[in-house]
Amino acid sequence: MVAPANAIETHDLTRNFGEFVAVDHLTFNVTKGSIFGFLGPNGSGKSTCIRMLCGVLAPTFGTASVNGFDIVKQPEEVKRSIGYMSQSFSLYRDLTPDENLTFFGGVYGLKGEQLKRRKQSVVELVGLQKYMDRPSGLLSGGWRQRLALAAALIHEPELIFLDEPTAGIDPVARRDLWDLLFDLAGQGKTFFVTTHYMDEAERCNEIAYIYLSKMMVMGTPEQLKSLPEVRPAGTRRVAVAISSPPRGLAALKRQKFALDATLVESEIHLLMPEETTDDQITAILDQEGLPGAVVRRIDPSLEDVFVTITRRLAKT
């Protein structure tokens, strides 16, 4: 068999629950060795899509292959070839990390020396050596997620699904986990990640954004930021630095030219018509008693991308 160039290929992948269409004709490819960000609001169909790709749920329509296996005809092969780590800690809390890894290794048919070697390898990878003998439930959130990642990697899957892997863990643990993912991706592993964090989305090689069960946009973060619908013709984005950003935001939001305005890192991000000048903005803020505003042109952020696309659809 020729190794497929894509870890995942879907074609019109669809799943209905009764009348409700949970996943609507999704067609996309995930390149091997990439970190693929699968984004979308809660309830947009992300989880249903992942369950289909994991061979747990059959599609109503359409096809998909995962690691070269057909998800409908070969669900067992799909399951053996993937790793999965969910948002909530889903290992046995009363068992130690060592026992959990032994169990999941056994589930994937590892035993004896091989199991021992694999356990040692994943434990070293995530740096869990010191915590192997205490109940997993007593570990902190960050360590639990490392353990979950170790368990997902025990059988050396080429593709790993991470469903909101960093929800509820602290920023340092989050950074450590991502560093680990970069290392592994560098070794050729593919990651399919869902997240609500924009900084995490920025770290992905490619992003798919789904909303109301449909694929909205897909591409690299750079490609998404330069999409025409995010940079409507005749508009520009600026960041306004000022002494009291909340008051400034309230003042600017009252203006007709403010197409979109929000606060980011104590600056006001403003989308406005091309013809609105920087001086107009400083003048308005002056009147509000907020002198000394500094205006500079900016590119849209990923958050801007998703907010713009989602709001535009919600209006229609």
Partner: protein, 359 residues
């Protein structure tokens, strides 16, 4: 204003809203007690009648047939079988098919109406106290016509010791209770903790999951079973009349069926509280309908059928048969067969239900 009481109104209102939303709890609180009251109200009938009876008619005359008919007419006894010899009659009692045996002597017609009335031998199964006491009524109120000298002979438990029939019954009930509660929480717990999700994406098969969950509890239950038998002997002097090995052998399908019943409950419940409620739901019929308190034969049809959905009903017959009456596998095979079928049906049902609930 008493600060300790502060918030009472809001809490009470909120709690009422929870109850209204939680249909399952509402159902268990209101409907189930009513249904159970109706069920057991009909089941609880100490006036035991229609006791299955085997008759050996060595006389085969009009008089002996009339006598048999008159026994039947008392309604205490149901003549369900005719045997050729007292031995055959005793086998029928040992196997649990009949609880009373009547042996009519060859000189019945000749002696009837004479100065010495004919002696009829009556064998009564002592392994069920209700039956043992009630069977006498058929003979103390003698049928019309000249007297018959009925000689009662209580088999298996001649001194009518309560422990002799209570301990084996209790053992069966306790075993089902333990096994069902052991497994009923297990799948739900995995669902609640999210570990089931992790298992679903792994190559673990559904039957592998089901049977794998049963296996360790199975050994636990077998040990428990042996412990109960030893305790019954040491503390209550209840000896196993038949073969201990055969008893343990016949307990195996019972234990698996009960454990699987727990798993079936587990697949139906959304959370551990519900699985608890459902386990409790199986407890009442197990105690009241299994034949532990009331003889199965006297139960109204629907309850009789309901009773036979629970593994304990069959095992109660088995354990009483072996412990009290010295019955063996050949006597009790219909119960064993029923348990094997029930075991397969329950495991299949649990596996199918699990597939649906997890999809």
């Amino acid at each position: 204003m008493n600060n300790e009481l502060y918030g009472f109104r809001s809490i009470a209102l909120k709690e009422a809203m929870h109850i209204q939303r939680d249909r399952a709890t509402l159902f268990f609180a209101l409907v189930i007690p009513v249904v159970q009251l109706l069920l057991y109200g009909y089941a609880i009938d100490f006036d035991v009648r229609h006791i299955p009876t085997v008759v050996v008619d060595m006389d085969r005359t009009r008089e002996s047939r009339d006598y048999i008919q008159s026994l039947h007419n008392t309604q205490y006894l149901d003549i369900v079988r005719m045997a050729d010899s007292p031995d055959e009659a005793e086998r029928a009692i040992r196997s649990g098919d009949c609880h009373v045996g009547v042996v009519i002597p060859p000189d019945f017609a000749r002696l009837k109406g004479g100065p010495t009335p004919p002696q009829v031998r009556v064998m009564v199964d002592g392994s069920d106290s209700q039956v043992a006491t009630r069977a006498r009524f058929a003979f103390v109120s003698p049928p019309a016509g000249p007297a018959v000298d009925a000689r009662m002979n209580v088999l298996y438990n001649p001194n009518s010791r309560t422990q002799i029939y209570m301990i084996p019954g209790l053992a069966a009930i306790l075993l089902q209770l333990i096994t069902v509660s052991l497994t009923s929480a297990s799948l739900v717990r995995e669902r609640e903790q999210g570990t089931l999700e992790q298992l679903m994406v792994s190559p673990v098969g559904r039957l592998g999951l089901m049977l794998g969950k049963l296996a360790p509890y199975f050994f636990l239950a077998v040990i428990e079973m042996c412990a109960i038998l030893v305790m019954g002997y040491l503390l209550f002097d209840v000896r196993v009349t038949g073969s201990v090995f055969q008893l343990i052998l016949m307990s195996l399908p019972f234990i698996v069926a009960s454990l699987a019943l727990g798993l079936l409950i587990s697949t139906s419940a959304q959370n551990q509280a519900q699985s608890m409620q459902l386990s409790m739901l199986t407890m009442m019929p197990s105690i009241l309908l299994s034949g532990f308190v009331f003889p199965l034969e006297t139960m109204p049809g629907p309850l009789y059928l309901l009773a036979h959905l629970f593994p304990v009903t069959y095992f109660l017959q088995i354990i009483r048969g072996v412990v009290v009456r010295g019955a063996n596998i050949l006597d009790l095979w219909p119960n064993v067969l029923a348990l094997l079928i029930l075991m397969v049906v329950i495991i299949t049902a649990a596996t199918v239900r699990f597939r649906k609930s997890s999809a």
